[in-house]
Symmetry: D2
Subunit: 156 residues, 4 copies
């Protein structure tokens, strides 16, 4: 089965074709990273594009998509959470760029033999040990500590 | 419940603590994007870090992680699929950097109100319509066509 | 002559070794892109590192440095021009990260056979034709027009 | 004087308008970072665009341009130095993307109060001290040492 059809099967019938944002309060669609990985693998295989999907090719494609994502935020100054004032087409565009980054990331993990979902859970667990709640919360040093912790973390 | 504990509950008991790569042939852990989103939201809330998680802060953090991911590939020349010759610590490090990119991406989508899994499925469906199998496969113009299609796609 | 010595010769005697920021009002040091290119070429040659300086290796190294640059800005919210409140070590660190991006960019242009200074002047001239002063200045549509123009420009 | 005219004045009469690559063997055009900074400052001032040129806006614009640069290299596999097989329009496009990255980098340094040329010379000098020629050249451990040194350097 083509992966386009497969994607349509996972998408619920009621999904609005116009937007990546469900009605407020709607639960997220339960999409696993493995499903995305399989859909992309069959997409590439069907088109004989595996030959282009080397790790560094995919990494540079990912960087390209991160660039497009950044362009959506570049001239706006600070943007509040929830993106007040963004039009539906702007939100739709944002959803597409976020999706592009995700799809290349999933594909890159696949060709590198990394179980991305497992890696994410393990990183969350590691982060929880590194930043204990009691040490981080309510401290006046929070911002600085967070920055330093992040800087430190970036070296590990 | 702390999200570290929650992450441990989702991780199967048998998971090796040393590696993001499951034994070859093992199925991927079925992790949904929504689970990751919830774990991260509670992580930030528990530490009173929501104040730092504005869209552009998260986007720049994502760019930082993409930079760290790139550093793993920067002096290696072309890297074959499956990463032959990479040591277990190098693979582990790669899993962590891929995870970091994913986690900031999921968090960014969350604070922007985008259902990332839904957006990814919709993008896959759109890509399938844009690159029909018959038009793309087996053509001697494949590489060029793919590049042009991608370039075109980057403008949409 | 080693390029470290060469760099010291170009740097004026009076340069403070502690900071990339000259005393306010001081003129910029007149450094050409060609000088940087030559210094880096000899740096690589002296160490037999040319073998690592392929275009895609350098590009990924550049992406890594852009990531480090982004980390300096990631948790700060909006940062005003002139960086009020940044400490001298933070400013020094910023100067180093900006320099790292520049140095890899200059090296990448070199191994690709592009005269970066010439390319920059030509791009400035092209931009001046694309965004005429009269059409851009003082319009209430400025912000939107600028965004659209940029979006358009990103496709060219 | 408009900065477009200024750019034209710096560009020599004989410059081919079609290419960023001078005839082989031609010396580089002697363009200083300060000249580029001044041309861009007047470009922004003439259009009343200084209001958009905050540090983080410019940084995200830089990330966007790095993404466009990456797209030129993304599906090619390893690319040899000198870019054999690239067409003149492809080389021209590359020159433009390299220029875009440079121009935003120069502008970002300007609004942050960093003398970019001075910072680059100081970084080169620092690198020369960090990687002494004798310790780096001709060692069979070169590749590994370089990687480790770079990884270490990325933390400083």
């Amino acid at each position: 089965m083509d992966q386009g059809a497969a994607a349509r099967e996972i998408l619920p019938e009621a999904t609005s074709p116009q937007t990546a944002a469900p009605p407020a309060g709607d639960p997220l669609l339960p999409v696993t990273l493995g499903e995305l990985q399989e859909l992309q693998a069959s997409f590439a295989k069907d088109r004989d594009w595996d030959q282009f999907h080397s790790p560094r090719n995919l990494l540079l494609a990912l960087v390209g998509e991160v660039g497009e994502l950044s362009e959506l935020f570049q001239w706006r100054g600070e943007v509040p959470r929830g993106l007040p004032g963004w039009t539906p087409p702007e939100r739709e565009h944002l959803g597409e760029e976020l999706a592009d980054v995700l799809l290349y990331l999933v594909r890159l993990a696949d060709v590198c033999g990394v179980d991305l979902g497992r890696a994410a859970l393990r990183k969350l667990e590691k982060n929880a040990q590194k930043y204990p709640v009691d040490a981080c919360r309510g401290s006046s040093q929070k911002y600085t500590a967070y920055q330093e912790a992040e800087a430190e973390g970036s070296k590990s």
